[in-house]
Subunit: 223 residues, 2 copies
C-alpha cells in the first residue's frame, strides 16, 4: 500500500485566517494588557499559569486561546513575551492607528473627546460630528465640530474607521444607520438604546447605567 | 396515613431572597430598559417574545430570568408592564438613590463628573476625591474636590455607596483598597488595571480600550 506523497515544504506559509471564537477575541485585549505588565517588569518569558492568574481565567483556557494565534509556548519555559506581544498586536490590528469619529457632542461626547485614552491606545479622535447647527463650528480641544452630513467625506478623506455614538438614546439608531451608509463598519455605542446594524458591521456597546444597576442589585442584597 | 398539616396562610409572606445567577442579574438592566420603552409606547402588557426581541435573547430565557423575580406572566396576555417595572426596580435596588464618589479627577474623572447620566439614573455624584494636593479644593460643576483621606467621612456622613475608580492604572489597586477600608462594597473600575477586592465586595469593570481593540480585531479581518 503506497503512502501518500509528503506535503511540499513551504518556506513561508501564508498565515491562516482561522475563525477565532468571539469569547476568545474578547479575552485577547485582557491578555495584551497582562503581557504589557509582564514586559514592564522586565520578564522575557511568561507561563500560561501567570497569564491565567492575571486575566482571571484558567491556564488551559489561556493555552487554548493563544493556540488560535498559532502560539504554543515551550513546556517548562512558557511563552516568549516579546513575540507574543508582536502576535497579539498584529492579530488585534494594533500595528497601525484606527481613527475615530465621535457623533453627538453633548456632555458625554465632550467627555470622550477629552478623555485622552483613545489616542494613547491607537485610536486617535480624528473628527467630532453633531446634528445641532448651534454646535457645528465650535471646538473641543483642537477639533472643530462638523455637521453630521460630513460623515461620508470624513471616512473618505481622513480614513475614519470607527464611529462612536454618544447621542441620546432616541437618535442612536439613525446615527448608526448614517455611520453604516458612510462606509463605517465598526461602531461603539454609548447611547442607552438597542441599535441594530447589518451583517458585516461590528457593534460594541458600553452602558454605564447597566454597570451601576448591576452594582446596586448586589449592594441592596447585602444591606 | 395522616396527611401533613396544611401550611399556615400567610397574608404577606416575606419575599424570598433567591440566589439569582450572575448572568441573569446582568440581563435585568437590559429588560428594565426595554420595559421603559414599552411603557413609553403606552403599552400596558408585554409578551416574553417582545421583550426577548428587544433584549436580544430568546423568549424562553426571558421567562426563566423573570421567574427569578417571581414574575410568570399570563398565557396569551404576557406580563403587566407596570407591575414588572415595579418588581424590576425593587429587585435592582432602584427605589432609592445610591450616591457615588469618583476617585481620580483627571480627564476621565472630570468627564464622568460632567456626564450627567449617573444622577438621572439614580446614582447621584455625591463627592469627588483626588490624591493630588493641587487638585484638592478645585471645583468640577458644583462639587469641590476633596482629599482621598476624606473617604471614610464621605461614606459615614454622605452615605456614599458606590466608588468609581478613574485614576491611572498604577493607582487603581491602592484606591480600591482605600475604598474598601472606608466601608464601600460596590466599585466600578475605569482604570485599565486588574484590581482585586475581598469577598463580599462587588467590582465591575469598564475598559474603553478593550472595546476598541475588539472592534479593531474585526475591522482588520474585514480589510
Amino acid at each position: 500500500m503506497a503512502l501518500p506523497p509528503p506535503l511540499p515544504a513551504s518556506p513561508d506559509p501564508p498565515r491562516p485566517r482561522r475563525r477565532i471564537p468571539e469569547a476568545t477575541v474578547a479575552r485577547l485585549p485582557v491578555y495584551l494588557r497582562s503581557l504589557l505588565e509582564v514586559e514592564a517588569e522586565g520578564q522575557t518569558t511568561v507561563s500560561s499559569e501567570r497569564l491565567a492568574e492575571m486575566a482571571g481565567v484558567n491556564a488551559a483556557k489561556v493555552r487554548k486561546d493563544l493556540s488560535y494565534l498559532g502560539s504554543y509556548g515551550t513546556r517548562g519555559v512558557g511563552y516568549d513575551v516579546e513575540y507574543l506581544l508582536f502576535q497579539m498586536n498584529r492579530e488585534l490590528g494594533l500595528t497601525h492607528d484606527w481613527p475615530v469619529v465621535i457623533v453627538g457632542i453633548g456632555n458625554l461626547g465632550q467627555a470622550l473627546a477629552n478623555y485622552g485614552g483613545f489616542g494613547d491606545r491607537g485610536f486617535p479622535v480624528a473628527a467630532l460630528v453633531d446634528a445641532d447647527p448651534q454646535r457645528v463650528g465650535q471646538k473641543v480641544g483642537d477639533i472643530a465640530i462638523q455637521d453630521v452630513d460630513s460623515l461620508p467625506a470624513l471616512v473618505r478623506d481622513q480614513g475614519v474607521a470607527i464611529g462612536v455614538i454618544a447621542t441620546p438614546a432616541t437618535a442612536a439608531q439613525e446615527v448608526a444607520d448614517r455611520l453604516v451608509s458612510a462606509g463605517i463598519s465598526s461602531i461603539l455605542n454609548f447611547a442607552p438604546a438597542l441599535v441594530t446594524v447589518p451583517a458585516g458591521v461590528s457593534l460594541r456597546k458600553v452602558d454605564l447605567a447597566v454597570e451601576l444597576q448591576i452594582l446596586s442589585f448586589y449592594q441592596q442584597r447585602r444591606t
